[in-house]
């Protein structure tokens, strides 16, 4: 095999992989691009007409859109807090303790992730209606549903982080005069925290982005995905792309920022 041939061979997989990654980003580029699109007076809303900054300067122009974003954020935060707390407690129980019904609990946690959203949404709707809440679908029913599906993801994430923790560390802490409470707050919690944080971020994005389950159980309340869906029939306003791009930048900023912060801190400590 020629030298070049071998070089290609060993780098082929990496190149192909990067191509796949690029493919995953094409829609993001389009969304960002379309956020600068002047779509007024255009027949085809899915083609680029002309460049404008209007969408970014007047992001809340479309009626009801910013309100729907607000609703999504509020539900997202509430669901995240609840699911993270419930899920973290459950993860600790599953990893640190042996108790009857542990395997049943594991199964119950896994099942919502293995159920199609349409079935989850359907069953929640069926229950709400059967319970006589058919006329009261809205914020609280959406919130309940979101906490449900976020719960499983939180448990899985925290559980894997927790089980990777060396149990000797807690024994060492107690050997060094830390009682049970001090051991938890000074050793266990700081080490599990990145997992809990990751689970919280995951929860928020799952909640913010959810459509199928939300749609079935929302009544009159409108979340951002529901607004987009409704608008898609008539023609989405370009400000939707502004929100989409903002979300992406925000999420990237958090993750990249976190990574950079951790690296800078390590450098500072090493230099001291």
């Amino acid at each position: 095999m020629t030298r070049i041939g071998r070089w290609i061979g060993s780098h082929l997989v990496l190149a192909l992989g990067l191509l796949v990654l690029l493919y995953m980003y094409i829609p993001n580029f389009i969304v960002a691009l379309m956020s600068f699109n002047d779509s007024s007076g255009a027949r085809n809303l899915y083609a680029f007409q002309s460049f404008t900054l209007d969408n970014w300067l007047n992001p809340c122009a479309p009626q009801g859109m910013c309100e729907s974003v607000r609703v999504s954020i509020v539900i997202g935060l509430a669901a995240t807090i609840a699911a993270t707390i419930l899920g973290t407690l459950a993860a600790f129980a599953l990893v640190r303790h042996r108790f009857e019904g542990r395997s049943t609990m594991n199964l119950m946690i896994f099942l919502p992730m293995a159920t199609p959203e349409i079935v989850l949404g359907s069953s929640l709707l069926a229950m709400f209606v059967a319970a006589g809440l058919g006329g009261q679908l809205g914020f609280w029913t959406i919130l309940a549903a979101h906490i449900l599906f976020c719960l499983s993801f939180v448990v899985i994430t925290v559980r894997s982080r927790l089980s990777g923790l060396d149990s000797n560390l807690e024994k060492a802490a107690m050997d060094l005069f830390a009682n049970e409470s001090q051991t938890f707050w000074r050793v266990t919690f700081p080490l599990v925290f990145p997992g809990i944080l990751g689970a919280a971020l995951l929860s928020f994005s799952l909640s913010f982005d959810d459509f199928i389950i939300t749609n079935l159980n929302s009544g009159q309340t409108v979340t951002f995905p529901m607004f987009v869906w409704g608008a898609a029939q008539r023609g989405v306003p370009m400000q939707v792309n502004v929100i989409g791009t903002l979300m992406f930048i925000f999420a990237l900023a958090i993750v990249v920022g976190g990574e950079l912060f951790a690296r800078r801190r390590a450098k500072v400590l090493a230099a001291r």
Partner: protein, 382 residues
């Protein structure tokens, strides 16, 4: 109570037992007294119960029965953070999210000591870690991590420092260096060190007293010299260094007091064993002699030694190790004997494989062990 009245703060284990729910007994009614300020080694193969014993002293395992005292203080069921005992873990267990300085300061801070900075500085100097104070454990080498684990435990000035195979993860040279350092440290600091290891060379190098553990019990305890020259069981004879064990029958006793010897018939030749080195009551036993004490010469050449001679042995293999040569001899009765000869140069060459040799040893080096014991006990099974 004046200082003179207080009993020394020895570590005392009485009838200490650990039985697991599945029935397995890791430690069987251990009785042990470790004098304050000594360097004590608990030596044994993996699974013998030494680590379990250590963890019970640290408070990380609950004893099923028995007591643990330091001086008059009963700490048997005290929580780990209420004992004047600290542990250096085998895997070091350094807190990955804290710096070295914070790791070392952990213990004093939990005890509410104000102004720990100076203490931390001093301890880091003692263990030569001053440069590493602001780093995280992941940035340190294995040897440095080991010293952090040590510093973190020592800063608390425990009455007893427990070391659970602390040198296992280090390479040979580093391990040798750390063995010397630890011994010097213990001399300086004067704390009781209890060192758990499966490495018999390590135990013998470092410890004042060694206890050999096997299957939950202590087989023998004493100074490294006593254990090596006068093993009480085949396990100890094989685990510490190597031994030749030959079947023999007791035929009589001679002499009195310090000169008393026991006569044993070994395949037709009668050898004598010092009475102090006889560890069996029956009239059958294993005659034990260390390979480096076995003397050989080509058949016919006289051996300058007071013991009985065995003739008709044949060299079956010889391994040249630089410092010494290890021979394996087939004896007339079919069994094999090991002979380690220091290459002083006097022989002027090796004995060839296949050559006939005469074998002897100085009787004062022989010992007699109980024949019911397994002659293979304590041999490294890997």
């Amino acid at each position: 109570m004046s200082l003179a009245d207080q009993s020394p703060r020895n570590l005392r284990l009485t009838g200490l037992t650990k039985r697991y729910p599945n029935g397995f007994v890791a430690v069987k009614s251990l009785d042990l007294e470790i004098p304050q300020g000594s360097f004590f080694a608990l030596l044994g193969p993996s699974g013998c119960g030494k680590t379990t014993t250590l963890r019970m002293v640290a408070g990380l395992e609950d004893p099923t029965a028995g007591q643990i005292h330091i001086g008059d203080q009963d700490i048997t069921h005290a929580r780990p953070y209420r004992r004047p005992v600290n542990t250096v873990f085998q895997s070091y267990a350094l807190f990955p999210h804290l710096t070295i300085a914070e790791n070392v300061a952990f213990g004093p801070k939990r005890r509410g000591v104000k102004d720990v900075e100076q203490q931390v500085k001093d301890t880091l100097e003692l263990t030569e870690l001053t440069e590493q104070a602001a780093k995280k454990p992941a940035q340190l080498s294995g040897g440095q991590q080991q010293r952090v684990a040590l510093a973190r435990a020592l800063i608390n000035r425990p009455e007893v420092l427990l070391l659970d195979e602390p040198l296992g993860a280090l390479d040979l040279k580093l391990r040798r260096a750390m063995q010397i350092e630890l011994k010097q440290l213990q001399d300086e600091v004067g704390i009781t060190f209890v060192h758990v290891t499966h490495d018999q060379e390590e135990a013998m190098t470092m410890a004042d007293t060694v206890a050999v553990m096997n299957a939950g019990v202590i087989e023998q305890m004493g100074s490294p010299y006593d254990l090596y020259t006068n093993p009480a069981t085949t396990f100890v004879a094989n685990f510490l260094g190597r031994s030749n064990l030959i079947k023999g029958t007791v035929v009589g006793r001679e002499g009195t007091g310090a000169d008393a010897v026991v006569k044993v018939d070994v395949y037709g030749t009668v050898v004598s064993i010092p009475a102090a080195k006889v560890h069996t009551q029956s009239n059958e036993g294993w005659v034990g002699v260390r390979p480096e004490k076995v003397l050989i010469q080509p058949a016919g050449t006289p051996i300058d030694a007071p013991g009985e001679h065995f003739s008709g042995a044949v060299v079956v293999s010889s391994s040249y190790l630089g410092v010494s040569t290890e021979y394996v001899l087939r004896m007339p009765w079919g069994g094999e004997l090991m002979c380690f000869e220091q290459n002083t140069g006097r022989r002027g060459g090796l004995l060839a494989v296949g050559s006939s040799v005469d074998v002897s040893w100085n009787p004062k080096f022989a010992f007699l062990l109980d024949s019911s014991q397994d002659a293979g006990a304590g041999l490294e099974a890997d």
